[in-house]
């Protein structure tokens, strides 16, 4: 909550660009291609945004916090939290899950899909 220094800005540019700095702030080594050139993302605020901090509230990995070690394909309720309405797996940057847990989670979701506990596409009934 300390990092929540977003000023309620009305720029549509700012809100559109939020997704990009968020990405570079979150996974450090990975998608460094686009954000590096275009925007001064990741670092504490670019001069373009008028000194607004780019860091959104640092999302914590739910599994690390609650110390859930075993991600089983059988607990559908837990898995369904990480699946979108369309049935797709939500990306790590939106859920804030850390990489090893995201890998296990995605494996479990795919197993659950195979055994018809989760849908491949469409709403989970």
């Amino acid at each position: 909550m300390a990092e929540e220094t977003k000023a309620p800005s009305a720029h549509t540019g700012a809100s559109g660009g939020e997704s990009r700095p968020e990405r570079s702030g979150g996974d450090r080594p990975e998608r460094s291609g686009p954000p590096r050139g275009a925007r001064p993302g990741g670092g504490p605020g670019g001069p373009r945004e008028g000194g607004r901090k780019f860091f959104r509230r640092k999302k914590v990995c739910k599994f690390c916090v609650e110390k859930i070690e075993a991600v089983n394909y059988k607990d559908v309720r837990l898995l369904a939290q990480f699946v979108a309405e369309s049935g797709k797996i939500t990306p790590r940057r939106l859920t804030g899950v850390c990489t090893p847990h995201q890998r296990r989670l995605s494996r479990a979701i795919k197993q659950a899909r195979n055994i018809a506990l989760l849908p491949f596409a469409g709403r989970a009934q």
């Binding site: 070690e69 394909y73 055994i115 018809a116 469409g122 989970a124």
Partner: protein
């Protein structure tokens, strides 16, 4: 070299209980006769997330098997030919269990290590000894 497996299969919903139990016991006996252990639980009828061969719900059965790979292969073959079984999934779980055990051990040892100085600091001899005595049996069932 027994490995742990979890086998979940779905049976068509219009199957009667006795037939289901008969099927489960046949599978279990095929595992135990080959030298392994099997334990099963029936989850009951659930709605499937998508249509599987004309059915929208099915009876889920979970079997925990501890046996060699060949035995599980045989069980899977049987499931494939059994007509009421519409889907199955086998997951090998021994690596996962090993990992969980390791984590539990690390956590327990950390807890013990942090509890020891507290017990020593607290106090005079008399309360400390029964505390130490209760400490050890508590960590034994690991």
């Amino acid at each position: 070299m027994n490995r742990n497996y979890e086998l979940m299969f779905i049976v068509r919903p219009d199957m009667v209980d006795e037939d289901l139990n008969k099927l489960i016991s046949t599978l279990e006996s095929s595992v135990t006769s080959a030298g392994g252990t099997a334990k099963s639980e029936v989850w009951g009828k659930r709605r499937l997330a998508y249509r599987v061969g004309k059915f929208n719900d099915g009876i889920f059965v979970l079997m925990m098997i501890e046996a060699t790979g060949a035995v599980v292969h045989e069980v899977e073959r049987r499931l494939r030919v059994t007509e009421p079984v519409i889907k199955f999934l086998t997951v090998r779980t021994d690596e996962e269990l090993k990992r969980l055990d390791k984590i539990k051990k690390i956590r327990d040892s950390k807890k013990k290590a942090s509890a020891q100085p507290a017990a020593a600091a607290t106090a005079p001899v008399t309360p400390a000894t029964p505390e130490a005595a209760t400490e050890t049996p508590a960590s034994a069932p690991v």
